[in-house]
Amino acid sequence: MWLKQLAVLNFKNYTEVTLHFAPEVNAFTGANGAGKTNLLDAIHYLSLCKSFFNPIDSQQIRRDADWFMVQGEFDKDGQADTVACSLKRNQKKQFKKNKKAYSRLADHIGQFPLVMVSPSDSAIVTDGSEERRRFVDNVISQTDLAYLDGLIAYNKCLAQRNSLLKQAARGSKLDSSLLEVLDMQLVEFGVPIFEKRRAFMAEFIPEFDNHYRFLTDTAETVSLVYESQLMHAPFGTLLEQYLDRDRLLERTNVGIHKDDLLFTIHGDMPLKKFGSQGQQKSFLIALKLAQYSFLHRQKGFKPLLLLDDIFDKLDDHRTRKLMQMVSADDFGQIFLTDTDSMRINRIFDEINRRVRIFEINSCTARQLEKNG
């Protein structure tokens, strides 16, 4: 599966741009703020029906315009699929495949899978556990349609239980029958999510280890561990054990909403504190490439790989390694951004790979290497 053509209209800083891509590596180069990343985000729209960076669709409309449109032509085993996303101000987002509108956006997710590697990934290491759960949930939900529904149900049930705990703390008597009912429901929705996350991590961790080892080829030992309270006792038992604490704190302190991923380096030192910037960056890239490998295996075809501004904190050795890896046969079509087109040319010359470069300059794009 690869993206042959992208057309954007009134999207972010672009008035109108149409680009024809190579099935291998495509690079957007230009100064910061020229709009390189916006093109990656347009591709993200085509795959996941939303922006990677900004959850508010209407803010993607170019200033002074009333609507935006992103259109792409994919090639899937020789068959052409046109995907179009458009939004008029104050109206519902329209999403079409081959001119037919979807009734549920969820039906589109996973058909043209994509992995984005971005500087904002650093939040996965530096921020709270919510970021790490979001990462895991995003990956699983691209391959398991029921997963997200289960998660939404769990979160709603959790909100009900927390409301009940709050009301009990405000003086109304805790209805123990109702609490038992909500606990049963939490268990019903929570346990399958736990099991899916655990099964996913069992497949994911070896992929991650492979990618990290290749990327760094040093003796750096890093590890990635899935941590859930549900590993230590049945969820129902845990809810009983935590009840006094829950009542005191007026919220539920045990469950899959407390799951986390532990990232460590040099034995059991937290990566966040003891990893260098380069190590953290390699860790994150390995995480995203493992996501790629997982999706690839689940889908049976190669997702798109988007690499936003990744050369920044990587030394030349790691950069070459990375480019060598992703432009090999295990990966499909790639889109990357960099400020320096000379650097891109040099790197791809060194590893003897082709690249099609688009020079982005004040919202226009010019293809540099026709034969690339």
Binding site: K156, S177, V181
Partner: protein, 213 residues
């Protein structure tokens, strides 16, 4: 959205008109544009016609009662269904509100009586079991003479919570507790199901089984 724009340019030539439109606009599902159309329609009607309309509304709130047995809206202390000798008083169908009673009555396939809860359990919306007609249902069953309780609630999470809760409260009284086959899509509400489907799902109700830890 277009209606909202319309609202911005609505310049009323009369305060009375504006007030009436505002009141209609407060009703669920009625936008400003529809409200204006309804008000203008009423204005064009003969006075007697409009008086009949306002009187109906006036009496509705002042005089309506709730059946002391099943809590459905009623003109009398005990509603027609509860009072009827043709109905099987040992079979109780538990529903959320009066719309569900109407939907099930329309199927012509149910000859038991009802119990109207007045909502579904949802602590986050401030609705607990004590805000609903649950104790009165338990008392009804406890008093004896009930053979089966059919719980016919929406296939939503709140519906599930409520069914499960009722089951816990009723299971020790030795009555059959059943639910309607909810082939209704998740989030579907009872009142929107067509009569044939609803009638069939009541006929093919299944015992409610739940393992309780």
């Amino acid at each position: 959205m277009w209606e909202k724009k319309y609202l911005c340019v609505m310049n009323f030539s009369s305060k009375l008109l504006e007030q009436a439109v505002a009141e209609f606009g407060r009703l669920p599902g009625v936008g400003q544009k529809t409200a204006l159309r309804l008000v203008l329609h009423l204005l064009s009607q003969p006075e007697a016609e409009v008086s009949r309309f306002t009187e109906a509304l006036d009496r509705l709130k002042r005089e309506i009662r709730y059946c002391t047995t099943c809590h459905n809206v009623s003109d009398t202390a005990v509603c027609e269904i509860c009072a009827s000798h043709k109905r099987d008083g040992a079979l109780i169908c538990v529903v959320e509100d009066t719309r569900d009673v109407m939907a099930i009555e329309n199927t012509d396939q149910y000859h038991g009586v009802y119990h109207v809860l007045g909502g579904l359990i949802s602590p986050m919306d401030g609705v607990g079991p004590s805000d609903l007609q649950i104790d009165s249902l338990v008392k009804r069953v406890e008093a004896g003479g009930v053979r089966e309780v059919i719980v016919a609630l929406s296939a939503t999470m709140e519906g599930d919570t409520t069914i499960f809760y009722l089951y816990k409260k009723l299971k020790d009284f030795g009555v059959q507790i059943s639910t309607i086959a909810r082939g209704i899509s998740f989030g579907g509400e009872l009142e929107y199901v067509d009569e044939v489907t609803l009638g069939r799902s009541i006929a093919t109700r299944v015992p409610y089984e739940r393992s309780i830890a």
